[in-house]
Amino acid sequence: MCRRDSKMTNKTIHLRSPHFDEIQIGNGKDLVLIAGPCALESHDHSMRMAEMIGGLCVKLGVRWIFKACYDKDCRSSPSSFHGLGLDDGLQILADVREAHGVPVSSDFSDPSWGPSTGEVCDMVQVPAYLCRQTSMLRAAAATGKPVHLKKGQFMSPWNMKNSCRKLEAFGNDQILLTDRGTFFGYNMLVNDMRCFPIMQETGYPVCYDATHSIQLPTSMGNISGGQREFIPHLTRAAAACGIEALFMEVHDNPPNAMSDANTVLDFKYLEVVLAQAKAMHEMRLELRAKWGEDNVHPE
């Protein structure tokens, strides 16, 4: 008498623009990299990072999205670099896309910035701290662009469904869900790898933020520390657990990075981390083709 197969439908995220070939995330497609410096630092630096990361992605056969923020509204100190601002930042992102034929993304921290951000960016990002704010989700949905929604460090993976439902109610069902770590006491994050299959139950693809996950929030008084030595281990684990996109903040000179200097990945390590993530992703797809979907039920 049941009329419908209750199996979850896996949705695919589409990034489309005349500037680049369509990128799809989810449903067993190739692993997609979302990468760039934490903050836009200058026009030249952004162009250089796009060239470096883009060149490596061509070498490895990985599609990618350039991500960098124009306004870092969650810095620990008022004296920390806040960003280049909306107008200058979006102009740089538009230039990067034009010059390198790569989709671009930035987060935005105020609903009023949504329309401008969506006008330029091919995917808009909602910061983890704001992942359940209705006004932010309404603004993100209204851009009409795919929404990269990070799980708040304070949120359970199953409650991310509520944020998805809000986005859906506001007319947007192009959602990418990312784990960037969960608070484990003060100044400490851990990755609960159960996040990925649990968030996949929403039907949306999931992503792993490898560089924020190893952050030690505000562990150095007025700035955050980090243990980037764990990035390779955690990235391999996340790829094995079913992520369809990998997020990493990458810098060519981390000690001098203007934001998140203690967590950004040095570009010189990007190849070894990304190549392994890609291999793990492909192996997981092979295993799924051979053995089927994970189907160990609780009862």
């Binding site: 008498m1 049941c2 009329r3 419908r4 209750s6 359970s156 409650n159 469904k161 609780p298 009862e299």
Partner: protein
């Protein structure tokens, strides 16, 4: 209550109408479904798709069994879509069926509630054992 004889009583005569029985969309979270059951003082809810077609049923017994078997945190269980935990091939009946035949079916299946559907499988009500028995008793007293 109907004054018809028990032989001619149909499910339609005694079933709970839509305003009296809880019905929930498949994607309603379990917590809200339990609240609806509480509000209606009924231990069962019909699960429907967006077209009101019956796709499942959830009873207090199903919830009890889940609590004993599912080891996930209660907060996660409460956030699950109700269809995840529903019985997805529920027995149902149409409103024109003779009440005694419906009671036979409930006895045979050992169930207290039967979703009532139309020819398109759209939910139109619920047959609850209390109302069914009351209908039969009223008819007997009138004889």
């Amino acid at each position: 209550m109907s004054t018809q004889s028990d032989q001619s009583l149909t499910v339609a005569d005694v079933m709970l109408t839509m305003d009296a029985c809880p019905v929930a969309d498949e994607r309603t979270i379990l917590k809200e479904v339990l609240e609806a059951m509480d509000k209606h003082r009924l231990g069962v809810v019909c699960i429907v798709d967006q077209g009101m077609h019956l796709t499942g049923i959830l009873t207090e017994g199903d919830v009890r069994r889940k609590l004993l078997r599912v080891q996930k945190p209660l907060a996660a269980l409460l956030a699950d879509d109700v269809i995840t935990h529903a019985v997805k091939s529920p027995i149902s009946i149409t409103a024109d069926v003779q009440l005694m035949d419906a009671l036979d079916l409930m006895g045979e299946k050992k169930i207290w509630d039967l979703p009532v559907v139309d020819a398109d499988m759209k939910v139109v009500g619920m047959l609850h054992l209390h109302q069914a028995i009351r209908g039969v008793l009223d008819t007997l007293q009138q004889k």
